[in-house]
């Protein structure tokens, strides 16, 4: 090891010429003077170690109602009209031409010309004391109706998957902003020192359309980005020790690497190096903690049955169970993505009838089980579950290229969709907002995705208008210049 360090120093000295010396000496002295002059009014804290401070628990602006979040994103966007937003009137218009006022000046991802209206495919009924409307697609969720707040009047600005996902998770439809999870960990840090504060689990065979940016850290230091764990096999690749290397050797290696990184940091002061150092340390601790927390084999059989999980499977159900285990270990933000909800009606799997029923069959039970499981462990009080997608689906049947699709399908819809939340400071058994008779527009208490973000931050103890990060000359916030807390859904 020492040999390696010496070699590095040697190489470094080779690179130093007289010119370098004079340059750095001159600049260095000047900077020293300037530094001491400005030291007292400088806001920069890169010096004190972003990374070292980054992951410890931090204090919110006001007392939080939700200490942890499980965000379940159904990528592709399930149809609210088949699951939650019951529109008997739409049934009457089934097969009729769409009224002109729904089409004038509107843009759709695929619908062209005049599409036909498509009646609800599910059988609806009211459930729980609260009388929440749900369809027979989701029989398990019906059993926990009274734990949930539904927002039926969600709306967004984007009708394509990737930008809509970005808008939902980062507050902007363009790349480069930190995600909700990153903001949460930036604001609140992580309580469990052996696990990342922001963990991402994906299922459904594909990543979300907007890629890693939906759980990225944007301009925040990269320690705050979501750490994706695999659900089958090794949860995090390359975190286990290779054969022949024991934990002690691994420890020494990481210490040596960090020492070198520290020296480079002292030279160039790039805060990303600190991130790297802390990530190495975290990875080392994760060698022990991650396999343990991700191992479901010690869960009792009835819990596995409740979620519908078989050990070793990388399914959405497994991710729900893991999400519970992670929040049980005080992980701050668990982001679940499940791909395959884009029911256009183009294929047998991609429609709002059988295809959507099948997706629900795989996800309904584990989501309901997650709510039950958190509740009986006394965790639901402080854990906020958010369920939803990047947008909704049209009350019209999709007619891509003017042709009726072979299966029942709906196009992307930004004017109205349903999301729900449970636990962590939201009302139990409550429905917020309403859509019109055909489920096209929100007509009461519309909630924009920025309003949702403001509300989530509020529940976590932050005023979204004052929770900012300075970048390129101005303060940025998750909700940018928009967003209003939806007070009515707060318990």
């Amino acid at each position: 090891m020492e040999k390696l360090l010496k070699e590095l120093q040697h190489a470094d000295l080779h690179g130093q010429t007289r010119r370098h010396f004079l340059q750095s000496a001159g600049f260095g002295l000047g900077a020293l003077g300037l530094g001491s002059l400005l030291g007292s009014c400088s806001n920069s804290n890169a010096e004190t170690g972003v990374a070292a401070e980054a992951m410890g628990a931090k204090i919110p602006q006001f007392a939080p109602k939700a200490k942890r979040v499980i965000y379940i994103h159904m990528a592709g966007a399930p149809s609210q009209l088949e699951l939650f937003d019951y529109k008997p009137e739409l049934e009457k218009y089934h097969g009729k031409d769409c009224p002109a006022e729904f089409l004038e000046g509107k843009k759709f991802a695929f619908i062209q010309g005049v599409p036909k209206m498509l009646g609800p495919q599910g059988k609806f009924n009211q459930y729980g004391q609260s009388g929440a409307w749900m369809s027979d697609y989701i029989p398990y969720l019906q059993t926990v109706a009274d734990e949930i707040t539904f927002i039926k009047s969600m709306h967004t600005d984007q009708f394509n998957h990737a930008p809509a996902q970005l808008l939902l998770h980062t507050g902007s439809a363009r790349l480069g902003r930190p995600s909700l999870g990153a903001w949460s960990v930036y604001g609140l840090g992580s309580e469990n020192q052996n696990l990342p504060g922001f963990i991402v689990l994906a299922s459904g065979g594909r990543q979300p359309d907007a890629g890693k940016s939906v759980y990225g850290s944007g301009f925040l230091p990269s320690v705050y980005q979501g750490v994706q764990c695999r659900t089958g096999g090794d949860p995090v690749l390359y975190v286990t020790d290779p054969n022949g290397m024991n934990r002690n050797m691994r420890k020494q290696t990481i210490e040596a690497i960090n020492e070198i990184n520290k020296q480079t940091y002292d030279d160039v002061k790039d805060p990303e190096i600190l991130t790297r150092i802390s990530q190495y340390e975290m990875a080392f601790r994760m060698q022990m903690s991650v396999p343990e927390v991700m191992d479901v084999s010690r869960e009792p059989q009835f819990i596995l049955d409740m979620y519908g999980v078989k050990p070793g499977e990388g399914t959405f159900a497994m991710n729900c169970l893991l999400a519970r285990k992670l929040v049980e270990n005080d992980v701050r933000f668990v982001q679940l993505f499940d791909w395959g909800w884009d029911g256009h009606g183009t294929t047998a799997g991609d429609n709002v009838e059988g295809g959507l029923r099948n997706k629900c069959r795989l996800s309904d039970k584990p989501v309901a089980a997650l709510i039950q499981d958190l509740k009986m462990r006394g965790l639901l009080d402080e854990t906020l579950i958010i369920w939803g997608a990047e947008f909704g689906r049209t009350p019209m049947q999709e007619n891509r290229n003017g042709v009726v699709m072979p299966y029942m399908g709906r196009d992307h819809h930004l004017e109205a969709f349903t999301m729900w939340m449970a636990g962590g400071g939201v009302k139990k058994g409550y429905t917020h907002g309403e859509t019109d008779e055909l489920g096209y527009y929100g007509v009461k208490d519309r909630v924009h995705v920025h309003d949702l973000q403001a509300t989530i931050l509020h529940l976590m103890g932050f005023d979204h208008e004052k929770f900012t990060y300075p970048f390129q000359g101005r303060n940025f916030r998750l909700t940018d210049t928009e967003g209003k807390v939806v007070k009515n859904i707060i318990a």
Partner: protein, 493 residues
């Protein structure tokens, strides 16, 4: 210098010194004036150069105070009119101080013909500028607010009225007169301070209906039946940073439901004597009206919060906090604006009874305590019972038993207790349930039986006792999906 004219940290930094600097010329000028009087009346003997020297520093001080004052004003948030008066008077002080010095020092020799008026004016302006400054900082009328009678009447100051900051709860909302019981109290709280008989900003009075209907300089303040076209509502809805926004930036603002209520009253025709039940009540107005009955108007957000959150406790002792941290626990204020603490042993599963005394010095501050999965036993609960403001307590998967719980039931703020995976029994639950504050008890995987829960539930119907699933209950849960178990073959149209 140019840089300083733009608002930056530096301008505010220097600006904040205005109140410090401003007292120098005040003191100096008064001394110069007094010495001059003393000299001229022959009471004392002062050298001219002494007064010249004092005048020079008066002028310098006044100039610096002017500069700092200008920088301070860039921050905004002051009454424009008053600020302008204050500014020019302040500049006057500096100018006349320089003139007085110039003539006194003999640099220009015209003698006392100019010198004395200049000194006099400068001193006089010091008083008035100072008074304006005080009004800017503390608010108009601060000086005379508590003038006692009979001086009050002599000086023509109107009798003191109680400042209204909160609305009294309305007992029977349907019988409440909309204008008298809802609208006027809101106006009193937020508007009348600047729009009354004595002070009529924009020529508008809002202290009674007749005057309100008359409007101000810019005409009527509302259009009956059209809230959104009414200036009064429009101004409230403007962004707070807008110059036309009302109430002005920095003053207490109208809440959303207050605006809703005012709009509703305008929409419904600005009636003077109609009751709530006489008007059409929309869905939007309902919650706003409801908030009036509970007296929670304006503080809705806190209404459902636990009372423990409004406790004021001393700043926690740093050494005690450090000692707990050293034991591997997380200790943090629950939020930036509070001294209340949250303590978690998530990273310290070895924490045990021996260390429980670490909490004693913070018995007032600790309200949320997470000791789940640690080695604490009944011996520790005695100490935990002394954390008198404890609100949430996690003891899941510990060796705590019924006996230990007896030390906890007198905690008057305890609302949440997690006893999952402990050995507590029906008797322990029953005993614990007598606590008046408890709302949620979690007893899954303990020795508590279903019958035990049912019995306690009967005695305390509001208590939320949460048990969990066992094999039988999971089997029941799984039945919910019986209709949905086989894979669907989507049909082709």
């Amino acid at each position: 210098m140019l840089i300083l004219l733009q608002a930056s940290d530096w301008t505010y930094f220097i600006g904040r010194f205005h109140p410090v600097l401003v007292h120098l010329p005040i003191g100096f000028l008064l001394i110069a004036g007094l010495l001059e009087i003393g000299r001229r009346t022959g009471k004392i003997s002062v050298n001219d150069s002494t007064i010249t020297f004092i005048l020079f520093w008066s002028a310098v001080g006044a100039t610096l105070a002017c500069i700092a004052g200008y920088l301070l004003s860039l921050g905004g948030g002051y009454d424009e009119e008053l600020l302008s008066d204050h500014k020019w008077k302040g500049i006057g002080v500096a100018v006349f101080a320089w003139i007085a010095w110039l003539f006194k020092s003999g640099k220009i020799s015209v003698g006392s013909a100019v010198y004395l008026p200049a000194l006099g004016l400068s001193t006089l302006l010091t008083f008035t500028a100072g008074h304006d400054g005080g009004s800017l900082t503390h608010g108009d009328g601060y000086l005379t607010q508590y003038t006692p009678e009979p001086f009050r009447s002599i000086a023509g100051i109107p009798p003191r009225t109680e400042e209204k900051t909160e609305m009294k709860p309305i007992t029977d909302i349907n019988q409440a007169v909309v204008y008298k019981d809802i609208v006027q109290p809101i106006l009193e709280m937020r508007c009348v301070q600047c729009h009354n008989a004595n002070k009529q900003k924009g020529g508008l009075r809002m202290d009674n209906l007749a005057m309100l209907l008359k409007g101000g300089e810019d005409g009527p303040v509302f259009v009956s039946g059209k809230a959104l076209e009414s200036a009064m509502i429009k101004r409230c809805l403007l962004p707070e940073t807008d110059d036309d926004h009302m109430p002005p930036k920095g003053k207490p603002q109208l809440s959303e439901s207050q605006i809703t209520l005012l709009s509703w009253w305008i929409e419904q025709g600005v009636s003077a004597d109609k009751k709530v039940s006489d008007l059409k009540i929309s869905e939007q107005v309902k919650p706003a009206l409801a908030s009036l009955t509970s007296g929670s108007e304006g503080k809705n957000a806190q209404q459902v919060d636990s009372p423990v959150l409004s406790l004021q406790v001393p700043v926690p002792n740093e050494k005690s906090v450090a000692a707990i941290k050293k034991a591997g626990l997380i200790v943090m204020p629950i939020s930036h604006d509070k001294n209340l603490l949250e303590v978690s042993a998530v990273n310290a599963s070895g924490f045990g009874d021996g260390q429980i005394n670490l909490f004693s010095p913070l018995s007032e501050q600790i309200i949320w305590l997470k000791l789940g999965g640690t080695k604490v036993t009944d011996a520790a609960t005695k100490e935990i019972g002394k954390l008198k403001n404890l609100n949430k307590l996690h003891l899941e998967y510990t060796a705590v038993t019924d006996e230990g719980l007896t030390s906890l039931k007198d905690l008057q703020y305890l609302e949440y207790i997690n006893l999952v995976g402990t050995k507590i029994t029906d008797a322990g639950l029953k005993n614990l349930a007598s606590s008046k504050s408890l709302k949620n008890i979690y007893i899954w995987k303990s020795a508590v039986t279903e019958n035990g829960v049912a019995e306690v539930q009967k005695l305390h119907p509001d208590l939320h006792i949460v048990n969990g699933f066992n094999e039988a209950k999971v089997a029941e849960f799984l039945k919910a999906g019986d209709t949905n178990t086989k894979e669907e073959k989507p049909r082709i149209q």
